[in-house]
């Protein structure tokens, strides 16, 4: 990771809202005196949600909130697969590709998305809306094929459902612009 370079000007000087800062405070108090670093994973989730992905600027900001060294945050952020360390589309499809999901056609559905959005796994659609990632078992094996988008699990997927979801998200994004 390019730890020393500032890699996202948009995140320079980023800060949480007042409500978010109250939440950070609540989380840090869940651990004994001096052990508040335990709140790091959840605060990083909040950072990712608010700023889209974890740039060095966002991680440095989290370090300042926790009063720890930036390297301690980089170390953690690079270990866990839910964190995006590069810019991603507005909607990130995290599609499960592990064995049990494959018994119910996960791979065919992934191929369908690739063709539909004209992207490879890891890529983002030209309009910047959708990123496709494959992930390992999400604990939804009985409801396959499935993917996670944001905090939501979309289960029992098929081509029609994918079409509807993508269409709805396109509309949602258009209405916000």
């Amino acid at each position: 990771m390019e730890s020393s370079i500032k890699n996202n000007p948009a995140h320079v000087g980023c800060t949480f809202s007042a409500d978010r800062l109250t939440e950070v405070d609540r989380l840090m108090k869940q651990y004994p005196e001096g052990k508040h670093k335990s709140a790091i994973l959840r605060i990083l989730h909040m950072g990712q949600k608010d700023f889209g992905w974890l740039s060095v600027e966002v991680m440095d900001y989290v370090a300042s909130l926790l009063n720890i060294q930036p390297i301690e945050v980089y170390e953690v952020a690079t270990f866990y697969s839910m964190y995006h360390l590069k810019p991603v589309g507005k909607y990130v499809f995290e599609f499960c590709q592990t064995g049990p999901c494959c018994t119910r056609g996960a791979e065919k559905t992934i191929d369908y998305i690739k063709n539909k959005l004209n992207i490879e796994v890891g890529g983002t659609s030209a309009d910047g809306l959708f990123t496709l990632k494959t992930v390992e078992c999400l604990g939804a094996c009985g409801y396959a094929p499935m993917m996670q988008v944001g905090d939501v699990f979309f289960e029992h997927l098929n081509e029609e459902k994918i079409d509807t979801l993508i269409e709805n998200w396109r509309k949602e994004a258009a209405s916000k612009n």
Binding site: L41, H45, F79, Y80, S81, G99, C137, G139, C141
Partner: protein, 448 residues
């Protein structure tokens, strides 16, 4: 026969997710009872119940609790393992999503028994919506005097919090879970010292699975002996099984230990048989880490006995012809499923999830993935099969934590039982690209 239900007896009651309905249906009575008992008495009941850890290893819970060190003036911690990341396993999710108070109640009784005043539920980060469900249940429990200071006037104090992870199977391993809860990378620790002596922040700690903890209130309510009367032999009580793969009714089922595997797969009360009228080819009984079994060893053991849903019967025959109950992640493969492909996806999973501390696991899982990938894609060599067996052997037992074993066993078992299918992929790559292995039903005789 309709199976006995304990954990999910009330899962369909309207509003059971919330305090009022949960309380009305007997919720929190075990806390009232437990607070009048001594902690030793509670541990004794749990020992008598024969309850074994539901996270995968099946270690007796009462015994684990009795190992907890109790030095003067040092806090002790109970951590609930809700990391649930073993492929095929999605049972804890069901319990937490639909009956969050059953876990909260279990945490209170178990924390009291262990003398813990602060406890945490560590849940996989992908289950973020369940974090909110649990926090809502916890808030209700505080409001009604089941958490906080001086619970129900007993003088006992307990705070309970939820900490989400962020995507790492390894954090289900108990020492990695502790590291992660301390806000670090999830690298497993060397043992000893065991968590019972030095765990979270260096303090004595017990880590238990969601289902294990949610069972404790029922044991306190009915008594350890009564719980031990359910099930068969050393497999007492009930078990949640998450069933997936090519079955008619995937989902989470509570079974009484000791029903037959045949009943579980084919009865309409459970899996409802193989989907689309296909034939049963293979089964993984307890999450992707346990050995896969071919169709001839599923409903019967090698000795011809009916195979039962118990720790002992599933393990009958050892790794030659048996498997493990594990986490209860039950995966069924029909005749259209390719064993080589399935083994490859599992190898990829373990490679992806290896924390990278130990070279046998970090490198070995990568080799297995690569070799399986080339076999699957028609570029395998016959020597690759023994190479895989060899790599698996070199990982097993040579790592800090059991992820290495968990990665090695599925590969070793797939080759043990389906070597001919691997050979076919290598010798007839074109046919293998086009269709399914035709001779899968002829399994070699396995000597008991």
């Amino acid at each position: 026969m309709a199976g006995k239900k304990i954990l999910l007896a009330n899962d369909h009651v309207e509003g059971i997710r919330y305090y009022d309905a949960y309380r009305k249906h007997g919720g929190y009575t075990s806390v009232e009872k437990a607070l009048k008992m001594t902690s030793d008495d509670i541990v004794e009941e749990v020992k008598k119940s024969g309850l074994r850890g539901r996270g995968g290893a099946g270690f007796p819970t009462g015994m684990k609790w009795s190992f907890l060190a109790k030095p003067e003036g040092v806090p002790r911690y109970l951590l609930c393992n809700a990391d649930e990341s073993e492929p095929g396993t999605f049972k804890d999710r069901y319990l937490m999503e639909y009956m969050p108070h059953s876990l909260v109640e279990g945490m209170i009784v178990s924390s009291f028994a262990l003398g813990a005043n602060t406890s945490y539920i560590y849940i996989r980060g992908e289950y973020m919506w369940i974090v909110s469900i649990l926090e809502e249940a916890i808030a209700e429990a505080y409001k009604n005097g089941w958490l906080g200071k001086n619970i129900q006037g007993s003088g006992y104090d307990l705070d309970l919090y939820v900490t989400p992870g962020a995507g790492a199977y390894i954090c289900g391993e108990e020492t990695a879970l502790i590291e992660s809860l301390e806000g670090k990378r999830g690298n497993p620790r060397m043992k000893p010292p065991f968590p019972a002596i030095k765990g979270l922040w260096g303090c004595p700690t017990v880590v238990n699975n969601v289902e294990t903890i949610a069972t404790v209130p029922h044991i306190i309510n009915m008594g350890g002996d009564a719980y031990a009367g359910i099930g068969v032999g050393r497999s007492t009580g009930t078990k949640l099984i998450s069933a997936c793969g090519n079955i008619r009714k995937p989902g989470v089922y509570e079974i009484e230990m000791g029903i037959s595997v045949e009943e579980f797969i084919y009865s309409d009360e459970y899996c409802g048989g193989i989907a689309d009228g296909k034939k049963l080819k293979a089964m993984i009984a307890g999450g992707s880490s346990v050995p896969i079994l071919p169709h001839n060893l599923i409903t019967k053991t090698a000795a011809g006995e009916p195979r039962l849903m118990t720790y002992e019967s599933l393990a009958d025959g050892g790794f030659i012809s048996g498997t493990m109950l594990g986490s209860g992640g039950f995966i069924i493969y029909d005749e259209d499923q390719c064993i080589v492909h399935n083994t490859y996806t599992l190898a990829r999973f373990y490679h992806h999830e290896s924390c990278g501390q130990c070279s046998p696991c970090r490198e070995g899982t990568g080799w297995m993935e690569k070799v399986l990938h080339r076999i699957e894609n028609g570029h395998g060599k016959m020597s690759d099969i023994d190479l895989l067996v060899d790599v698996a052997k070199k990982i097993e037992g040579n790592t800090i934590c059991p992820l290495g074993d968990a990665a090695a066993w599925p590969v070793a078992a797939a080759i043990r039982h389906f070597r001919d299918e691997f050979e076919w992929h290598i010798q007839e790559p074109e046919a293998a690209q086009r269709g399914n292995y035709p001779h899968w039903e002829n399994r070699p005789e396995v000597v008991a």
